[in-house]
Assembly symmetry: C3
Homo-oligomer: 139 residues x 3
């Protein structure tokens, strides 16, 4: 059993930019030489989130529309006054979705469905440079 | 320390069918002979999700009603046009809730409240045969 | 590699009381003497949840307002009739957010952003004594 720490660095457009990071996670899993275990994929920062989805353009639009409906970007939040950066909606979306996901792997393969990809969602209201940590635990 | 992989196979009715899998997880934990650690319970596929709930019929109805209210099944999503299978709402519900849950265990018991059960929610719009992976890590 | 189990005990006010538990998690991490790994922080009970947020008062109000909007406390739920304790909304909020969060650590530091804190949300409709389990796995 071992712990292996890896990182993904990304430049995003913000505004609920959705990035399919599945292949990056797979490549880093191979690099660890671990066969079986779990990986916790976690964003460093409070305006991004992770989940899985069938990554195809129409569904990516649907999830952007869903977050806009449930936590609109064009209304005011108390947080908007704290720093004047108007991204209260970004924080709420991120806290709701959650900052991390834990995915099992076996025989050096992520255990996911064929149409199930790991996505990072950048909810901030401007382009960001992001660092995502991958903590692998396994054997 | 060891990693042990187990699976639960289920036939569901779809349409936000909610299955209490707590006893199945407990039985598989005993099978692993691990005493202390964590188990990541993760659905293979992009239209199911996991969480915990007090599993009783009225609350199960409430959570179905909640998902119907927040992500209705009777409106159109862009994804509905991609494959023609009209399950855009299923994908959105699954991505929102998340595909996995990680539960601690100690002395071969899941650490949960008395009225806290692990549930699998099948959001697809038709009956499905499901495979859920349980990745146990512990000693 | 080792598993270390710790607990946080809290008295909350309920009604979506939001507690920043980051420093408690950090202190318990130091106590474990583990350097690198993950910690699963999980509430025992079905009316609490965990996530991360930039913990500042205005945003704490925003997230309370968000849950009140999406799952109102002043309407009836089927579950309210089950035990007569009128906390159907508390259960729904908890199941939606999820009962646990898994956070990586390295060099005995939680890997979080500067403005990213771990919060416990008590959604119940009355003050509660809470027990949160921390399952550390690492080396």
């Amino acid at each position: 059993m071992a712990v292996k720490t890896e990182y993904i660095e990304l430049n995003t457009k913000g505004k609920t930019d959705i990035v399919n990071i599945t292949d990056m996670v797979k490549d880093l899993l191979i690099k660890t030489k671990l066969k079986s275990g779990i990986v916790t994929v976690s964003v460093i920062g409070s305006t991004g989130g992770l989940t899985t989805i069938e990554y195809e353009p129409a569904l990516v639009d649907d999830i952007k529309n869903f977050f806009e409906k449930i936590i609109p970007s064009n209304i005011s939040y108390n947080h908007d006054e704290t720093w004047g950066d108007a991204n209260g909606h970004s924080h709420l979306r991120a806290s709701l979705l959650g900052p991390s996901i834990t995915v099992p792997f076996k025989e050096t393969n992520l255990i996911l469905g064929t149409w199930q990809q790991i996505i990072f969602l950048d909810f901030d209201n401007r382009p960001r440079s992001r660092k995502i940590v991958l903590q692998f635990i396994g054997e």
